[in-house]
């Protein structure tokens, strides 16, 4: 029969000779390979003390941005949801009341905003679609969890800290994604 690929190696099925039967040379050969690797550069890092460098274009966990006065930028226009190929984003909009002008940037805002992280494929199309600079994919990985229900991220999970009330938290979140 013709081989499926060219990378096929014929298995040697001859009976083992004396040197092969005592195994020691093979073990020593294996140990030298192991020993040689001790002096090579390690590909792993000591996480979480050390973290790897993320490229500036890394697409990690989403954040919902605020403007410089701490108002939410999202106006629930639905463009991220319509751009999402995995249909992970859902939202419900509400009208801003006159006394809520310090909370929301525009007349309309997202009263509820959810991303189903089980569906998200981190393609970044929501970030590209957003006309209001409201959603960003930050340079943090999404934390692992044991239960599926913890992967439905609500607006509280996604919002960046307020730059007026919590400048440190905001700067930290900004520093990670910029």
């Amino acid at each position: 029969m013709e081989a499926l690929t060219k990378n096929v190696m014929e298995v040697d099925r001859r009976p083992m000779n004396f040197w092969e039967k005592i195994y020691l040379p093979a073990i020593l050969k294996g140990m030298t390979i192991t020993f040689r690797h001790m002096f090579k550069k390690k590909p792993t890092v000591q996480y979480p003390e050390k973290t790897r460098y993320f490229s500036p274009v890394f697409r990690g966990m989403h954040i919902l941005n605020r403007d410089e006065e701490g108002r939410e930028r999202c106006t629930a226009c639905g463009l991220c949801a319509v751009a999402c190929p995995a249909e992970a984003i859902t939202m419900e909009a509400a009208e801003r009341k006159p006394d809520e002008a310090h909370l929301y940037r525009e007349e309309k805002y997202a009263a509820r905003y959810e991303i189903n992280m089980l569906r998200c494929i981190f393609c970044g199309l929501c970030e590209e679609a957003c006309p209001k600079d409201a959603i960003y994919l930050s340079q943090t990985v999404t934390p692992a969890d044991y239960a599926r229900k913890n992967f439905i991220y609500t607006k509280n999970d996604l919002l960046i800290p307020d730059p007026v009330k919590d400048p440190e938290g905001f700067a930290k979140a900004k520093g990670i994604h910029q």
Binding site: T90, P131, K149
Partner: protein
Amino acid sequence: MSEDLFKVTIDNITIDVPPGTTILQAARKIGGDVTPPAMCYYSKLKDSGGKCRTCLVEVSKGSEKDPRPMPKLVASCRTTVMDGMEVKNITSPKAMEARKGVVEFLLINHPLDCPICDQAGECDLQDLSYGHGNEGSRFEFQKRVFEKHDLGPYIQLHMTRCILCYRCVFVADQLTEKRQHGILDRGERAEIATYISKSLEHDFIGNVIDVCPVGALTDKTFRFKNRVWFTKPVDAHRDCDKCAGLVRLWLRGDEVFRVTVRRDEWGEVINTPEGKPAWICNECRFEKKKESDWIIEGPTHINRHSVIAQGHYEGLKMPNEFLPEVIGKKPRLFLNIHDVSEVNRPGIDLSLIEGPATSDDFENPKND
């Protein structure tokens, strides 16, 4: 060719039309790309047209008897055809360039708040500026602002978005007996307003929402409830003693979010079987927000280039689920999304809230 028909050539396509037809109507008979866009012209409203200048075309040959070209571009919605007329629309660089200029002028005072606007997705101005406009605007001054006018509990007016097409004024003039709103002031300060802030009370006044080519007049009962492209359009009817009752429902699940007239391919209201425009009354539009009020005929045909066509299936046949047959029971769900998600919860009917939802509706839901 019979004697009483005029032969007119639009973009090298020849068609015979009766005398008195406008160039725009002749082009609509041909259909497709040669039809000039129209923002203010509405074939079912008398005297509409001639205001927005988006339908400008070049007439390269006046008629068989007088073959001189017309000196300037003409508004095709107001110019009637002559025998042997030759018209250039998309084949005329002059007309296309002029249309670009018109779009730029229309957008000068338009706020471009499409992310907030409820018309986004079915807005004629959006289509026009994507299809015919320039990429950017050169306008760097303050856009006009207006005092807020309240047009009653059903209609929301955003004057900043208005392009002064006068369609709503014609609806109020021709469909209702007494017009209570009109255009006040002149020039840049011209605006749609009601005299002494009267609310508009007439059974057919809701149709101003459907004729508005932009988001200046929108449905207050649908305001901010959902985006147009996430609701599913279906054709439906009911027995109504005021109107023909032929409507389009915009559904999400089995909630009726919005009721509009049925539109044809030019974005205008369709005719009833008797040949009259199928305008709908306010009761059908604003008060019948339950699926049980309507007899649903089937999904509306949506052009696949429209964003509304996303997730919209016509003639859909669901495949047979074989797994329950094989294992003898329904497969267990790992996660029922409604147990966790706050959005689209069954039991909360956004469509039944009057006016836009506010933080009160979300923080203390009444029917939770």
